[in-house]
């Protein structure tokens, strides 16, 4: 094999194995009146083709800012100061606003917690879906409306032809979220970003929406990045999980490993602080203190002031490093914790 052919083979192999979404070392700053605030630092997330990756964290951890960065929807006060984002063949972080606009919808789409704020109250839901079809696929109105009804059926809206003429306020929260998913699916995007998609919904309706998203992945092979504060949603949906704390990813692992052998102290404590409907514990293990604000992220490991295993070395910055074949963590102790957990199981 010549050197050139070897290079080519490597390139092709790489392209196939390449994740659909690659966030590499993303750093984002917000300008406030007095100073710049770094809300994200060195965020690394990969989402493979057809994979569902969960991004979990508490308020202020930076999960929504991460999503907005991928979608090119950061507010004017925010700036990407480091790292890069790639979706498919496109370097998102290098695109102009106009280029990003055409990427949204076609290559990537997003749904939010409260669909009412993203839907136009004076247009029928059918028309709002059709509008996306017309804009991105250049279809005529009649054809686009027919496609809208088809999409509404695909996301499980009963009596779709009639409901297409409804206005958003005539639908329940669960049905509105289905409409948002239909809009997102209109152009069969490669990547769907779902930011707390079921947080505002009742639990029986939440189960239906989660089922729907998984079935759309199975049918269309779309990749999903689901952002949530709810580890239950993560366990239910995700193939792989990234845990975020104070603007950084602190642990990444396949879903089973996150729940059975959490290697970062934060992940472990977070799991223990959740009251379960399956079994009762005498007392919850609360994490002391409070989640830090981006204005005052601690030095060194950002979790160290709340960590029961804190040592002197934790005051130094931690690197996000491999602790197993498919796992990474940002804690110098993580390898040792993992070895202990795997030894005992």
């Amino acid at each position: 094999m010549t050197a050139v052919a070897g290079d080519m083979a490597e390139t092709i192999g790489e392209a196939e194995a390449r994740p659909l979404l690659e966030i590499d070392g993303l750093t984002v700053e917000f300008a406030t009146l007095r100073r710049k605030v770094k809300v994200l630092e060195d965020v690394r997330i990969d989402v493979g083709k057809g994979e569902i990756v969960g991004l979990v964290g508490e308020s202020g951890s930076g999960k929504s800012v991460t999503a907005m960065s991928v979608m090119g929807l950061l507010p004017d006060t925010a700036r990407i100061t480091g790292g890069r984002i790639r979706v498919g063949e496109h370097e998102v972080s290098a695109k102009s606003r106009r280029q990003l606009r055409s990427l949204r919808g076609r290559d990537m789409a997003m749904i939010f917690q409260e669909p009412m704020t993203s839907l136009n109250p004076v247009l029928t839901v059918g028309f709002q879906i059709a509008e996306v079809v017309m804009e991105h696929q250049g279809a005529g109105q009649a054809k686009a409306m027919a496609r809208a009804v088809e999409l509404m059926r695909a996301v499980g809206i009963p009596d779709a032809a009639r409901r297409a003429n409804d206005y958003p306020h005539q639908l329940s929260g669960g049905m509105r979220q289905r409409v948002m998913i239909a809009i997102a699916m209109a152009c069969q995007p490669l990547l769907l970003i779902a930011d707390e998609p079921t947080t505002a919904l009742d639990v029986t309706i939440q189960a239906q929406i989660l089922d729907l998203m998984v079935s759309l992945r199975d049918r269309f092979g779309m990749s999903i990045l689901i952002i949530t504060h709810d580890l239950g949603v993560i366990a239910e949906m995700a193939d792989r999980v990234c845990v975020m704390y104070a603007g950084q990813i602190v642990e990444e692992a396949p879903v089973r490993d996150i729940f059975t052998t959490p290697a970062h102290p934060y992940t472990r404590l977070l799991l223990r602080s959740i009251p379960s409907a399956r079994h009762k514990v005498e007392r919850l293990e609360a994490i002391e203190g409070t989640t830090p604000s981006p204005h005052a992220f601690p030095e060194g490991c950002r979790f160290h002031p709340r960590c029961p295993e804190m040592a002197e070395r934790c005051r130094e910055p931690q690197t996000f490093e491999r602790i197993g074949p498919v796992r990474q963590a940002r804690c110098w102790r993580a390898r040792e914790i993992l070895a202990r957990l795997e030894g005992s199981s």
Binding site: G50, E51, I52, E58, S59, P158, S172, G174, M175, D202, V203, T204, I205, Q206, A207, Q208, L210, D211, V214, D218, H229, D230, L231, G232, V233, I234, A235, E236, M237, D239, V255, R256, F259, T260, L269, L270, L271, S273, I274, P275, S276, A277, R278, K280, V281, R283, L284, E285, A286, I287, E288, T290, T291
Partner: protein, 343 residues
């Protein structure tokens, strides 16, 4: 639901109902009525936590407000410590306020942000004529109980984090040494790491002061954790009441069963089973005839669409409103992890 021998319930509610007129005709006669709470009966013992759970529109918040007497019931009676408080005058209610307090989801959304923590916690004391000196002493005491530094009492609430603000809300509720606290989604706005702190705090306070907690939440994990007994509501009605352990292990009402099975658990569960529910929660303005749940129920029969099932004691201490209590429901097995692995 009868009390143990010799012990008197702190709270007993009989046939409680609340209708709201949501639409009137031109002449003012009601055109559409929403029965937010319908025919609710329950009791609570001193020192008990009664959890109330249900989805949106089930009437749990309205029920809490009726017990607090912030709303007037349109039917039924409320007894507090053996005394009928349903028709109590304004003056009679004032005395009762010392005994029944409330903690809301966010106690500060309705408060003046310029007030100090001392005036927020001390306000109920002021209303009952405590002197400034007494107020300062008592505010310091309850702040310590809830884990706040008493020397921060002259600060404004915005200087505190969400978890600390909920501690302030709890301190305010404790100031008058009440016997019953209604907690309405008291931990729902908090991050899970903070939520656990507040749940532990409530458990400690309850033990220390022999408090009764009427704990309203949509979160089944939280409800299971805090409650001794649990009330499940659907479309304004109570569908099941039972002890925490029995109700979660062996739910009698198909709705309770479906609700528990729908909770996404933060753990890997092999062969997880769900109860498939059709459709959505009907509007409380036009609830279905018969059993309110029959339109979504996987085991509904013809009879369920015609008759409303009575609320009966099916087993000792276990009440249910269903013609077929405890009957097995169809289930679907969700095994996403295996699906994902085979991709």
């Amino acid at each position: 639901m009868t009390a143990g021998a010799g012990e008197r319930p702190i709270l007993a509610v009989e046939g409680l109902g609340k209708d709201f007129v949501v639409e009137r005709s031109l002449l003012g006669s009601p055109r559409a009525i929403l029965s937010a709470v319908k025919d609710v009966s329950l009791t609570m013992m001193p020192g008990e936590t009664l959890g109330v759970v249900g989805e949106s529109g089930c009437g749990k918040t309205t029920l809490g407000r009726l017990i607090l007497r912030l709303l007037e019931p349109t039917a039924g009676r409320i007894h507090f410590d053996g005394r009928d408080i349903t028709g109590l005058s304004r003056r009679g209610m004032r005395a009762l306020r010392r005994q029944i307090q409330v903690v809301f989801q966010d106690p500060f959304s309705s408060l003046n942000p310029r007030l100090t923590v001392r005036s927020i916690i001390g306000e109920p004391l002021k209303n009952f004529g405590f002197t400034e000196k007494e107020i300062t002493r008592r505010v310091g005491e309850v702040m310590e109980v809830v884990g706040l530094q008493p020397d921060t009492m002259s600060r404004n609430p915005h200087a505190f984090s969400g978890g600390q603000r909920q501690r302030i809300g709890i301190a305010r509720a404790l100031a008058l040494k009440p016997r019953l606290i209604v907690c309405d989604e008291a931990v729902s706005a908090l991050d899970v790491s903070i939520q656990a702190q507040i749940l532990n705090l409530l458990a400690d306070i309850q033990r220390e002061f022999d408090l009764s907690l009427f704990f309203i939440s949509h979160n089944l994990g939280v409800i299971r954790h805090v409650s001794h007994r649990i009330v499940v509501m659907y479309l304004g009605r109570v569908v099941e009441i039972g002890p925490e352990d029995a109700l979660f292990r062996q739910p009698l009402h198909p709705y309770t069963r479906a609700l528990i099975a729908a909770v996404p658990e933060a753990e890997i569960v092999e062969g997880r089973q769900r109860v498939p529910l059709q459709g959505e929660i009907p509007s409380p303005i036009s609830p279905p005839p018969g059993c309110p749940f029959h339109t979504r129920c996987p085991i509904a029969r013809d009879r369920c669409a015609r008759e409303v099932p009575d609320f009966v004691e099916h087993q000792p201490g276990r009440w249910v409103a269903c013609f077929y209590p405890g009957e097995e429901t169809p289930v679907v097995t969700v095994d996403r992890q295996r699906e994902a692995a085979s991709l």
